[in-house]
């Protein structure tokens, strides 16, 4: 909120220089975001915090704080109200509050025979420094008193109100009003919105904005000044519903002091008489549902010391209460010392012992509290198991040459349609179109990463691929719940590489990683029961995708991105991704290992080339070789696969290692085993190249 330096000065015996003032306010109560010269004045933009908005959205409130902080005298504006004795307010104004809960207090005064005109310079300057546009003397005075006291006021033209009767009621559904804001739009109301009405129609939206029909105009003679208190939650809801936030509504949302209405009215009426002339009718109309009186708040001396972590003298604490103008007394009970203060009704933030400790803390000065390391029990520090493995996996992926991304958790409606996504968790109030849904997978983000990085990949001598990974949460609607699960995914994009290379590198990464994590029984299944799930259906290429399984449990997908998508996005190159349920990995991790001593006897190796039809899988052949080779066949590695598309032939080259842990193998023993293996292969209808 903007404050005028000169204005604050009016209420203080002494005031520091503007920048110095900003510094002390920042260290003792609110951050001052800006100090700016404004004509003869300075503007201070002060960030009023919600707990003190109740009293500090006003020059008097801030001046009181400055007085306390700088230990100077606070000067309340004084003056004697000069009322007319033959004209009574009640003769001109009657108020009926139908909604006592929504309007706990409504006070009004009447000033007659005023002259509407331009405001004097001092008044215009002060309003302008605070960012308000001067309108006419009456409106300006109500604004001035609001900025001074924090109590919003509104002036009506008395002669435009039928019978001088004001009714505070809920709006009728569909009822309309033209408000006094810049747009002067006609607004349609709902029945939760409180209005100020006369017999015929609403004349203002309570606590938010005045209406056009009763506004102060140059020919206005007699006015009603309203100072009321409206219920905060309803004001907040109405203001949101109407999309209309005003200086008044912001203050009412913060529950201003209910006892402020009469003094503010008096101040306002006096200023009107001083500036616009006229006669102040005697007395005020004041409809109050409840009375709020100052209350006691207590705090124990030991608790103050314990929570702040400092030793304090009772006298120092009482001094702080005194400079804050909080009447306080010391109460001694047995060996304990308590303080009890009487909180003025403007300080609704003072309710608990801790609230008082905060006041003592900030005036004692947090900079004066000496740091003391906590003296406490030793508790072993643990880290979530998930996080331990997040770290491990990230380091491994980095070692494999993959870079980590943290993509946005949101996707757009366009993404949803483009990838044919469904069951998405929906954001109800996105700020931009890119935030319509929460991401159901990491893949959509990875594909965006290719598009964004593509222009920079070419031309660099060594970069011809993009290797990325991410560990992050994804979301979808599962039944009547939003399901949040952690995924671990990787992307490999290669320009100008031959088919299959991206897939097999990524598969190698996954296999090595699983091996290092001690996950055994991991395998790739290309029989996908029920087809691909909806959120991968259009992303992965059927026939070029495998389901990663641990035992019977499906934990994720590894595959190539659909050619159609790549084409539509103009991505030229090979792209493979994997995406795995992170929590599933964790549940299978077993890092226990037992050392196996290597054999003392030399191994014998043989190579084997097999020709088969194109639809034969490596795994089929391996099974046959391993079955026939028996226990002495220690290891089989595939070192080449060649596909001849023209002849529908595939050829495989294997490297077989024979090894005994008990004796030296002889060539003839191995030859016999090889014959057995070859026979088994030929029995399957495959050919062995000799």
């Amino acid at each position: 909120m903007k404050f005028s330096y000169n204005w604050l000065k009016d209420y203080l015996e002494k005031i520091p220089e503007p920048q110095q003032l900003a510094d002390v306010l920042t260290m003792r109560i609110f951050e001052v975001e800006e100090v700016k010269k404004a004509g003869d004045d300075f503007l201070l933009d002060i960030k009023i915090l919600p707990n003190r908005a109740v009293d500090c959205m006003s020059h008097l409130g801030i001046a009181r704080e400055i007085a306390a902080i700088t230990k100077t005298k606070f000067k309340e504006p004084i003056g004697q109200i000069n009322e007319s004795h033959d004209k009574k307010t009640s003769d001109y104004l009657a108020v009926e509050v139908k909604e006592k809960k929504l309007c706990p207090r409504y006070s009004g005064r009447v000033v007659l025979n005023i002259k509407v005109g331009e405001s004097p310079e001092w008044l215009k300057n002060k309003l302008e420094t605070c960012g308000l546009r001067p309108i006419n003397n009456i409106v300006d005075i109500t604004n001035f008193v609001m900025l001074e006291t924090g109590q919003p006021l509104h002036a009506f033209d008395l002669d435009k109100i039928s019978d001088g009767k004001i009714i505070v009621r809920r709006a009728k559904k569909g009822e309309k009003i033209i408000t006094l804001d810049e747009g002067r739009a006609e607004r349609e109301l709902n029945d939760n919105i409180l209005v100020i009405a006369d017999k015929a129609k609403p004349i203002a939206i309570a606590g938010i904005k005045g209406g056009r029909g009763t506004e102060i105009e140059t020919n206005t003679k007699n006015i009603i000044i309203e100072a009321a208190n409206f219920e905060a939650v309803n004001i907040r809801k109405s203001s949101k519903a109407l999309n209309l936030r005003t200086d008044a509504s912001i203050r009412f949302e913060n529950r201003p002091d209910i006892n402020l209405t009469l003094p503010a009215l008096e101040r306002c009426a006096m200023l009107v008489k001083e500036i616009a002339g006229g006669e102040i009718a005697e007395g005020a109309v004041d409809v109050a549902a409840t009375a709020v009186k100052p209350w006691n708040v207590g705090v124990e001396h030991d608790y103050i010391e314990s929570l702040l972590g400092v030793k304090l003298a009772s006298g120092d604490i009482m001094d702080i209460f005194e400079i804050l103008a909080l009447p306080a007394e010391i109460i001694k009970k047995d060996k304990s010392i308590f303080y009890e203060i009487l909180a003025p009704t403007r300080r609704s933030d003072l309710q608990t012992a801790e609230d008082l400790i905060e006041e003592i803390g900030r005036f004692y000065g947090y900079e004066n509290i000496k740091p003391v390391l906590p003296n406490c029990l030793l508790i072993p520090a643990l880290k979530d198991e998930q996080l331990i493995y997040v770290d491990k996996i990230k380091s491994m992926m980095q070692g494999f040459g993959y870079s980590e991304v943290y993509n946005y958790s949101f996707i757009s409606e366009d993404d949803k349609e483009f990838y044919g996504l469904a069951d998405l968790a929906e954001v109800l109030n996105p700020y931009s179109r890119d935030q319509k849904y929460l991401r159901p997978n990491l893949a959509v983000g990875f594909i965006k990463n290719i598009q964004e990085n593509k222009p920079y990949l070419a031309g660099s001598r060594f970069v011809n691929a993009l290797r990325l990974f991410e560990i992050g949460d994804v979301f979808f609607e599962g039944g009547d719940k939003i399901v949040e699960t952690r995924k671990f995914g990787g992307l490999l994009f290669m320009e100008n590489k031959k088919s299959g290379e991206a897939f097999y590198e990524l598969k190698g990464v996954v296999e090595t990683l699983f091996d290092k994590l001690g996950l055994s029984d991991v395998w790739e299944d290309d029989y996908i029961q029920g087809g691909l799930p909806i959120n991968f259906k259009n992303i992965l290429q059927i026939g070029k995708v495998s389901q990663i399984k641990i035992g019977d449990k499906a934990i994720g997908w590894l595959g190539k991105i659909n050619e159609d998508i790549l084409e539509r996005l103009e991505i030229k190159g090979r792209v493979a991704i994997f995406e795995i349920n992170f929590t599933d990995i964790i549940s299978f991790i077993n890092e226990e290992r037992e050392y196996e001593p290597p054999s003392k006897f030399p191994a014998i190796t043989r190579d084997l080339a097999v020709l088969s039809s194109e639809d034969t899988k490596v795994e089929n052949i391996l099974n046959v070789i391993e079955g026939a080779g028996g226990g002495l066949l220690d290891d089989v590695n595939i070192f080449d696969i060649y596909e001849n598309d023209k002849e529908d032939i595939k050829s495989f080259a294997f490297h077989l290692v024979f090894q005994s842990y008990e004796k030296n193998l002889t060539d003839s023993e191995v030859n016999k085993l090889m014959e057995k293996i070859i026979k088994a292969i030929e029995d399957e209808g495959w050919e062995v190249k000799k």
């Binding site: 740091p371 003391v372 906590p374 508790i379 870079s403 943290y406 949460d473 979301f475």
Partner: protein, 339 residues
């Protein structure tokens, strides 16, 4: 030929040696089976016994000396010889080793976790889609309260129909989540992604990271909080790091503070990173409001504690002088590969 003559002859020839071949010839000439030394040894066979012993010693000394000199010469030639072999062009780029990069967030987070673990804080996690109760009500932020405006919120549609889900606006819901299941004394940090529904610029993004901290025991004080924060920042930025506390307001702490870090770049003189104030606003904090203890099921006024939320990117940005927060979520390799 006497010994001195032989020695001089060796010296003379040795000085002329400039390559391996002549050195090998010289070695053969003097030390070979039919070399000069052996010749000399043969000659002294005929001498008297005493002379034989003395002569033999002299010859052996000379032999050792020659051997030594040849070894030294060999080494010299080897070093000199390097000038002659074909050289590697060391200016050509090295072969490509594929190197991966950990995100700067991860790198700094690891450092933060390490420091807090050493101070006895456990590291835990919580969900990103949160209920309004944990995100607001349990933390003393009632519905329709102006304090809700301090954080612009993304609301998420609940398929069950209630209007109760949000993307967490801070990591603080985990204070209550953790305390519901654990009794004091406790010390935790909770790193995580948080979301704010607002316009983005170089210093604001709608998705960023926080590290929540919570310490609860019988007598935890503001003084304790200051000590833990100072220790943390000293370990992160070096022993010169300074902090200050300013009054602030958060509904879930009382008293509340902002934690400012003395600007490590300009040493308080004022620079772009600290908006010319000399201080960088780095965390919100305070003493846990008793209301929050009650939300977690504790008895009011039985415990005291502090809580803080560190704006994580701010630390990373300050550490690496990164000028735009949106780079963190960009996936741009030109950014990532620098870490």
């Amino acid at each position: 030929m006497d010994i001195n003559e032989l020695k001089n002859k060796f010296q003379e020839l040795m000085e002329k040696v400039s390559d391996k071949k002549t050195l090998a010839d010289l070695e053969l000439k003097f030390l070979g089976r039919r070399g000069e030394i052996n010749d000399l040894l043969k000659k002294i066979k005929d001498l008297a016994a005493e002379e034989k012993i003395a002569g033999g010693k002299l010859i052996n000394d000379l032999k050792k000396e020659i051997e030594q000199k040849i070894i030294i010469k060999k080494k010299d030639l080897l070093v000199a010889g390097q000038d002659l072999i074909k050289r590697i062009d060391v200016t050509a780029p090295g072969s490509r080793v594929v190197s991966g990069h950990l995100h700067p967030r991860t790198q700094v987070l690891r450092k933060i976790e390490e420091i807090f673990i050493s101070l006895g804080f456990s590291v835990i996690e919580g969900p990103e889609v949160e209920t309004q109760w944990y995100n607001f009500e349990a933390l003393n932020i009632p519905k329709d309260h102006p304090a809700r405006d301090m954080q612009d919120t993304f609301y998420v549609k609940n398929p069950a129909g209630q209007e109760d889900l949000v993307l967490r606006t801070h990591t603080s819901p985990n204070q209550v989540r953790f305390m519901e299941k654990n009794n004091p004394p406790l010390r935790i940090i909770v790193p995580g992604k948080v979301f704010r529904n607002e316009a983005t610029d170089a210093t604001h993004d709608f998705q960023f990271y926080q590290v929540e901290g919570l310490m609860v025991d019988k007598h935890i004080s503001v003084a304790n909080f200051k000590a833990v924060m100072e220790e943390f920042f000293k370990r992160l930025y070096g022993p010169g790091a300074k902090i200050r506390l300013r009054p602030s307001y958060f509904p879930f702490t009382e008293p509340s503070f902002e934690v400012d870090l003395f600007c490590v770049f300009c040493q308080g003189k004022g620079c772009r990173l600290c908006s010319n104030t000399g201080w960088i606003e780095i965390a919100g904090a305070g003493m846990v409001n008793q209301f929050v203890f009650e939300s977690a099921g504790y008895v009011r006024n039985e415990w005291q504690g502090f809580a803080f939320g560190i704006g994580f990117e701010r630390i990373v940005m300050a550490k690496h002088k990164i000028s735009d927060i949106r780079l963190f979520s960009s996936g741009d390799m030109r950014f990532l590969k620098q870490f």
